[in-house]
Symmetry: C2
Subunit: 338 residues, 2 copies
C-alpha cells in the first residue's frame, strides 16, 4: 500500500515527519511512503536517517506550504501546489491509498472535501479519534468539524464511528452512545433527543445517553456528539491534564526532599502518564470522505506522528471508507423502502 | 446572618452535613445555622459533636426527603414538607439569608424557581462554579441548568457571572469570555457568534472567544457557555482526572518497589492533588434567583460541604442577588432607551 505524507505540515515539519515515516516503513513491510514537500529539504532529511528502505520511499516535490493560521478558504484557493494539497491529490488520482497531515485542520478538511468529495448523504467530514480510557478506549466523534449538527448528522456520525470501530477494533457490533447531560431519556436538548430516536431505530447497537465522564471510562465503544461539544470537552480534558502535571511538577521541585521523591517515583509516574499519553492516541480520522485522510495533531513529534501513520495503514487494510459507504447505503435504502 | 441547610440531602446526609455546619459555625462568628430535616436524627447528630455553639444553631423539622433520582416535577408536587423545600421556604420568608443543599439538582432548581422566583428577565437559574486553574480560578457558567440557551441567555450568564465574580473575588471589571471551538471571530456556531455581538455591546469586560483548555488556565475570570456544553466539559474533565488517578494507583501498587516509591512521594502527590481537589471548589451558585441558593455536590463529605457553606456566607455578605438584579436592570434600561 502507498501512503502520501504531507511532510511540511505541523509545527515541526520534516524533522518530525521524516523520521516517523522511516520508522513506519520499518514497521510495515508492505508500506510505500510518498513524502510530499520541498524536494531539497526532504532529500537532505532522508539522507541523515539510518537504514532507510529506499525502494519503498519516494519524494513528490511541492512548491507551497499551508500555514497553520491560514484561512481554509484562502488555502483552498491559493495553495494548489502545497504539500497538503498534493498529498490529497495523490489519493484522488489513486497514486496513494491514504494521506496523513499534521497541518492546518480547517484547510485539510476544506481541501479533502473539495478534492476527494464526500460519500453520498454526508455534508462534511466528521473528526473521529480514539481516546484513552480506564478500560481500553472509546472512539469519539465529532471533535470539531461540524458545529451545528442536525439529529440526522448525529445519526451519520454514529454510523461512521461504528463502521470505523468495528473495522479497526474487530468488534462486530460496537456499542454506540450519545453524549448528554444525563442518562435519563428526559435529559438533554431537542437535538439529542431526536438523534436518540433516529439512532435507536437504526440497526446500530445503541445503548443510550452517557455523561461526559463516560469518555474516559471506556464503557462504550463509540460516543457521538456535535463537534462544538466534542471539541470543547476534548480541549477541557487536555487542559485539566496539563494543569495537574503543572501542579505535580511544582510540588516535586519545591524542596531537595521533594526532588528526591520525584527521582524515586519518576519511573512510576511516567508509566502512569504513558498510559494516557496523547501521542499514543494521535491520528484522527476525517470520516465521510471518498478516501482516507488522517489528521495528526499539529504539535506531533516523531513518536506521535508515527502513530498517525499506523492509523492510516490500519484504515487502508480495513478499507474503512468502503465499509462506511455500504452502511450509509443500507440506511438510505431503508428510508426509500418506508 | 442565618443560613438554612438541607441537612438530609446528598449521598451522606446528616453525618456529613452536621459536622460541616458545626465547623462553619466555628469559622464564622456571625453565622446562625438552621438545620432542616428529621428532628430526632439531627438532634442526635448534633449531640455527638464537640463544642457546638448551641445558641447559633437551630433545628427545623421536616417530615419528607427528596430522593436523589426523583423527577424534579414529582418532587415539586409531592414533597412540600421535604428538608430541601423547607430550607428554600425559609429563604422566601426571610427567616434565612441563603440555603445550601447537596440534594437532587433538578429538584433544587425547580423548587427554588417556584418558591423564590427568578429575577426580572431571567428564565431559569444558571449553575455557576469556580473551577481550579493553573493561575487562580475561573467562574464557569452555565454548568447544566439550561441546555438550549439563546444568545440572549448567554449574555445574561455573562452578566450574572461577572457580578458574582466581581463581588466574591473583589474584581471591579472581571474579564469575560465565551467558550468556543477556536479563538478567531469566524469560529463557532450561530449562537455563539450572536452572543459575542451582544456581550461585546454590553459594558462587560469582554475579551473574546476561548477554547476548552482555557477553563483550567485561569487566564479569564468568567467563562460563559450553554449548559449542555458546560456540563459535558466539566464531567469529561472530572473523568480524565479520575482516569489518571486510577492509572497512577495501579502503577504505584504494581510491585514492592513501586509501593516504596508511592510511600516516598505520597505527600508530594497529595499536595499536587490538593491544589485541584474538587472538594475545595464545592458550592455552585444557582444564579438569577431572588435569593441565594448554593448547590453542593451530591457526594460531598464533611470537608467539601463546609466549602459550600462558606460560599453561601460570602454571597450573603456581598449581597450577590442585589448586584445581579442591578446589572440586569441597567441592561434592560439601555434596551428601552434604544
Amino acid at each position: 500500500m502507498r501512503i502520501a505524507i504531507d511532510a511540511m505540515g505541523g509545527d515541526h515539519g520534516p524533522p518530525a515527519v521524516v523520521p516517523a515515516a522511516v520508522a513506519a516503513l520499518r514497521k510495515h513491510a508492505n508500506l510505500h511512503v510518498v513524502l510530499v514537500g520541498d524536494e531539497a529539504i526532504l532529500t537532505k532529511a532522508l539522507s541523515t536517517e539510518q537504514g532507510v528502505p529506499s525502494t519503498r520511499v519516494s519524494i513528490r516535490h511541492a512548491t507551497q506550504q499551508v500555514e497553520m493560521d491560514e484561512s481554509p478558504s484562502q488555502a483552498l484557493r491559493t495553495k494548489k501546489d502545497s504539500s497538503m494539497r498534493v498529498a490529497i491529490d495523490l489519493v484522488k488520482e489513486r497514486e496513494a491509498d491514504a494521506c496523513v497531515s499534521a497541518g492546518n485542520t480547517g484547510a485539510l478538511m476544506a481541501k479533502a472535501r473539495f478534492v476527494l468529495k464526500m460519500l453520498p448523504g454526508i455534508d462534511r467530514p466528521a473528526i473521529c479519534c480514539a481516546l484513552p480510557a480506564m478500560q481500553g478506549h472509546s472512539h469519539v466523534l465529532d471533535l470539531g468539524a461540524n458545529v451545528d449538527s442536525s439529529p440526522e448528522q448525529l445519526l451519520q456520525f454514529a454510523l461512521m464511528g461504528a463502521a470505523l470501530t468495528s473495522a479497526v477494533d474487530n468488534k462486530p457490533a460496537p456499542s454506540v452512545a450519545l453524549l448528554n447531560v444525563g442518562e435519563e431519556d428526559i435529559k438533554g436538548d431537542g437535538r439529542v433527543k431526536e438523534a436518540a430516536m433516529l439512532i435507536s431505530q437504526s440497526n446500530l447497537n445503541y445503548v443510550g445517553f452517557v455523561e461526559g465522564d463516560a469518555v474516559f471510562k471506556g464503557s462504550v465503544d463509540v460516543i457521538v456528539c456535535d463537534g462544538f461539544v466534542g471539541n470543547i470537552a476534548l480541549k477541557a480534558s487536555e487542559g485539566v491534564g496539563r494543569m495537574f502535571l503543572h501542579f505535580a511538577k511544582e510540588e516535586f521541585l519545591r524542596t531537595p526532599l521533594t526532588r528526591l521523591a520525584a527521582w524515586v517515583s519518576g519511573p512510576v509516574l511516567k508509566a502512569a502518564v504513558h498510559r494516557i499519553d496523547p501521542r499514543r492516541y494521535n491520528g484522527a480520522s476525517l470520516l465521510g470522505l471518498r478516501g482516507i485522510v488522517i489528521k495528526s495533531h499539529g504539535s506531533a513529534d516523531q513518536v506521535s506522528f508515527a502513530y498517525a501513520i499506523d492509523e492510516a495503514v490500519l484504515e487502508v487494510e480495513k478499507r474503512v471508507p468502503d465499509l462506511i459507504s455500504k452502511d450509509l447505503e443500507l440506511i438510505f435504502d431503508q428510508r426509500r423502502a418506508v
